[in-house]
Symmetry: C2
Subunit: 347 residues, 2 copies
Amino acid sequence: MAKSASAIGMVFTDAGEETPPHGGDLGVARRLFPGAPEPFIDLSTGINPWPYPVARFSADAFIRLPQHEVLLTVAAAAAKAYGAPSAEHVVVAPGSQILLPLVARLLAPARAIVAAPAYPELARAAALAGHDVGTMEMVERCGDARLIMVANPNNPDGRRLPRALLLKLAQRRGGLLVVDEAFMDVEPPSISLAADVAGGNVVVLRSFGKFFGLPGLRLGFALTAPPLARRLSALLGPWPVSGPALAVGAKALADTAWIERARKRLAKGAASLDAILIKAGLDIIGGTALFRLVERKAAAALFQHLGRAGIYVRTFPDRPTWLRFGLPADARARGRLRKVLASFDAT
Amino acid sequence: MAKSASAIGMVFTDAGEETPPHGGDLGVARRLFPGAPEPFIDLSTGINPWPYPVARFSADAFIRLPQHEVLLTVAAAAAKAYGAPSAEHVVVAPGSQILLPLVARLLAPARAIVAAPAYPELARAAALAGHDVGTMEMVERCGDARLIMVANPNNPDGRRLPRALLLKLAQRRGGLLVVDEAFMDVEPPSISLAADVAGGNVVVLRSFGKFFGLPGLRLGFALTAPPLARRLSALLGPWPVSGPALAVGAKALADTAWIERARKRLAKGAASLDAILIKAGLDIIGGTALFRLVERKAAAALFQHLGRAGIYVRTFPDRPTWLRFGLPADARARGRLRKVLASFDAT
């Protein structure tokens, strides 16, 4: 067992404090490419570029404490939209990100395995909770690790883990399986574990902001057995989520017509992006309808070329030949991407 | 030392999971008083009834991930507004509430003392972190307790703790002093410990929503030494706060003219409330410019009387003779309060 920082007094450990790089920060893009034409085309995230329409809010959303009844409404809407057994299996949070260290803490410090390649926040959360964290590609070989964290579908490569494998991993005695389903909204519902959380050995995380295109709202969910859900909700306290997030979440999660249209539009958008990437000679090695991962030897040079032309994509320090592309929002952005890719000379 | 739940495996303990009652939930008021005239006059919180004006947001506040540069701007504005040594001493969070269990966790499970009477979330946070929690009125008699949590000024009685006492409590070796300054904005700055956090044994919590009248935004701060601030920020992750909260916070915290006007208006509003309460024969036993605490033998009956007339105030299960009154927003609300109090017959 790893030495738990919190067992030795005041926590001055640095475990998990180093911030891994993330997409979506145009401040970083502008520092990297100070001469680039504005506005930047930001393809560095996997966020729906066609957001759910945000109407004007009642002033109550700001001037009142978020009301508990509305929180329960959002929990019920999330249970229905995601396929969780009930609202009591839902934890409403200000984004799924903030839940990661809290979920990792549901187990005492132990050996933890994160499926690789991985969204770096999974391993960081496990380290913050005091776990001894390893990564492996074949997560089924986790041995005696008690905490297993996977993203399904995976980010950035889009790998889907078989449901049977996940259910088997969940059944290890005394273990906990955390499945980050941040990009699950664009997948067939049958691969989600949302309906399988009642047993108490699984926590499924869902992101509202990515699929609904509203990451600035900060809204996300944990789906898990009621005792664990109560524990997580207790850690978040009585007003975990803002009034605007509750108002939009209640409406959007119940808007099945919009959800269906968005799925189709994203699939079409991903196909358009594929055509552009393929025409530019890039190898698409994975992805979901919210992003595509390409491999290319000259990826670093291509990143620079794109950035100087005002197109910001995602790099991966550990995988220098990979680039991830989010979906361009419109014909103008697609046209600029096409043109800039065509002018790239890798020699 | 208390047995730490997290040291014995999966956390199924119920410690800290029971939700104490809170003000501000009109769903509760309507269930208690189904026949009351609407709209309710909500005096059950200590929130400024004259909120900072919320302009329309740029769509970016919702459709983009909150930008790190804006987070740093808000941290700098908070450091200046509250008097913390620098932006590196500031943790930006979605409300100060969510910080309480994280702050309590900065110490390994030990004996914790919460100053009584207390906002119940302080003791709940300490219990969630695995501490052995006691309460005492004379917190200077804390003995060997390592974690001390106080609210200053205190809620609900408005007691101000002497700065010298707090600094002495902070200097205990290996200890941590947490000062919840949720209602400090309406006090003389000299009683705040915001400027004294560099030593690393103090965490000051500040609430944005109460003074600025925007609790639905979810914005709050921890002020502490940079190593602890980094630890807390790491637990919150890269996007702790919503885009709207960052946009409003950056503007409001720097708006010294509004802040000055609000302080004066609240002081005047509290004096008007005092006049009404005194005329009704109530004993004001404490408070701040954001709320008043009264004592009356027939408090339970008065609560019912007010509630049936559509005026919702705050009760305290452990102190059945206490009622807390927030500030009525306008002459109409003051008039109704005056009338309803006058019609109360305690016999």
